[in-house]
Amino acid sequence: MKINLSQIHESPISPAVPPLPAAMAGLRRPAPAGRPHFRLRRMAFLLIVTPLLFLAAVGGIVAGSTHVDWSVALHVIGARLFPFWIDRASIEKADDVIIWLIRTPRVLVAALVGGGLAVAGALMQGFFRNPLAESNTVGVGSGAVLGAMIVFSTGLASKSAIALPIAAFLGALLALITVYALATRGGVTPVSMLLLTGIALSALLISISSLLLTLTVANWEVAEEMIFWMSGGLDKRTWTHVWICAPFVLFAFAASLYYARDLDLLMQGEDTAASLGVDVESTKRAIIVISALITGSAIAVAGAVGFVGLVVPHIVRLFVGPSHRSLLPSSAVAGAAFVIICDLLARTIHPPTEIRLGVVTAAFGAPFFLFILVRKYRELNV
């Protein structure tokens, strides 16, 4: 028996039906005393990690290869930040220069890179629903590395200090555009396609970078710099580097907060998210772009630092839960503190030699992560 489609009248969407009577069936089963609510843990985590970040930042500025008294360091910073109130006359020029032009930008870059990469890693892990995802999963990092290798091997890097970060950033953006264009059909970007395309393009770009490295090996000084750069490092960062990465990292971070709830929903499945009101393709595009901006600018100023984007979100998630509204800010703070501390270790373990930052983040971060995992083993659903 077929149904008759009767007259369809124009009417706006009717308001929702009135809510259910609250005591409709009563609680069929009593709610037992649950685990401590995540909300308290989130607050506690931020309350612990934020002061840690400030302490690390101050430590990063006060400690260095030459001795500067901490009171002098604070005096310098105060005089620079509040020039009308704090007098600069009594500060030695060398101290002033070292604190303000060498250490402060370095600590700021460390914070931006660490916080940014942690947020980008968290975004990618949510986007791909995969705990192994990190900022380079879409191939953006490999594009940045290739851009840098090109600039090194053509000699542009030795001509201008800004050529390298710009080339790395452009490489990252070009890789993003390529991956996205390859993986999108008819306005739809399936996540699995993006992942595979990203992996394939990443492998290709890395192989071209290796080729460039082997071709440049004859010029061993440049080759040495390429290799050091690929392990990441924050030596010789200036305010220029801060200005290169700060706009992108800060704005992308703010934008990621805008999409935090959308990402939570997206993690439930694309159909579910769409059904609950998320504009899926637009959100996916935004998240990829946000992550690429952060990754590109972070690698541009710090070299290919690995591990931060992979592990920091996991550690933070153990304390704060998977909801991105709290995960993203907490990851940013924790990532910033982590990289500042790693950079501090890199400079002070064996002065005056500096260990590469990428080496320290892995060597220091991996055992720390294992330690936390083992402690929480019982609570995990394994």
Binding site: I3, H9, A22, L265, G269, D271, T272, A274, N381
Partner: protein, 263 residues
């Protein structure tokens, strides 16, 4: 019967195959529509199209008299909720957090939870009988409990039209019955419910109308007793069915293998 959500001349083609062809069906307010058919007949695809999740190759979906494509996604989400058969619940959200996601389309990005939201969530938790699990991470739940959490989420949206894809698939007998009774009571309140299901007995008992699908075509839609005849069941499902009556008069179906055709 007025339709709140209808498909007109719906055609869906994906990966070079026609999944649904020339489909026309309407959902009326205050009714439960059971969509039945063998595996691969297009039940899930139909629900997805009607929720506006998949773009159509032909035809259109009409919601309250307006083409679905002209309505913004959040507005559609407020009106229609689709509950998938399986959900990816791999991250350690608590049950309450999952159910609260149903309120997403009702408030702005940075807006805080209102008391209205909290009430809706609590009611949904109670109604789907997962209130006792509210603070537990979803990864610690069984399949059936997860299914109920998904249903709770769809209830939290308070949308007038609910499309449920095999909601009783992993549920035990008690909870399966719960869900069907819940659908019934929702319909009695004036909402529109459509469920895709393999449970022909459940459909027979609780649905107002049954739509029978086969290979992407609508074979027929009408009262259960009219559609779930032994002839139709044999043609669509290749099994022989018998109708019986329980003590209180509720009908039930029993199925037997088809005898091999005698040459």
């Amino acid at each position: 019967m007025r339709s709140v959500l209808s498909a007109e001349g719906l055609g869906l083609r994906r990966t070079n195959r026609w999944i649904l062809q020339n489909f026309t069906i309407g959902l009326g307010p205050g009714t439960v529509l059971a969509i039945v058919g063998p595996n691969g007949s297009g039940k899930s695809s139909l629900l997805r199209c009607m929720a506006g999740l998949w773009p159509l190759t032909e035809g259109r979906i009409v919601l309250e008299g307006r083409d679905l494509r002209e309505i913004s996604r959040p507005q559609v989400a407020c009106a229609v909720t689709y509950v998938p058969q399986e959900a990816k619940l791999e991250f350690e959200f608590t049950v309450r957090e999952i159910v609260s996601m149903g309120r997403y389309s009702h408030r702005g990005r940075f807006a805080h939870e209102t008391s209205d939201d909290r009430t809706a969530v609590q009611d949904a938790l109670i109604r789907a009988d997962v209130a006792y699990l509210a603070e537990r991470p979803v990864t610690h739940l069984s399949g059936g409990e997860r299914q109920r959490v998904l249903i709770a989420r769809s209830l939290a949206t308070r949308s007038r039209i609910l499309l449920l894809d095999e909601p009783t698939a992993s549920l035990d007998v008690e909870h399966g019955l719960d869900i069907l009774e819940l659908c019934r009571s929702l319909a009695d309140e004036g909402r529109t419910v459509a469920i895709a299901t393999h449970d022909l007995n459940g459909a027979y008992r609780f649905a107002d109308r049954v739509a029978l699908l086969d290979s992407g075509r609508l074979m027929g839609v009408g009262a259960p007793s009219d559609i779930l005849t032994s002839g139709n069941i044999e043609r669509a499902f290749h099994v022989r069915s018998e109708t019986g009556s329980s003590g209180d008069g509720s009908p039930f179906l029993i199925f037997h293998r088809l005898k091999p055709e005698v040459q």
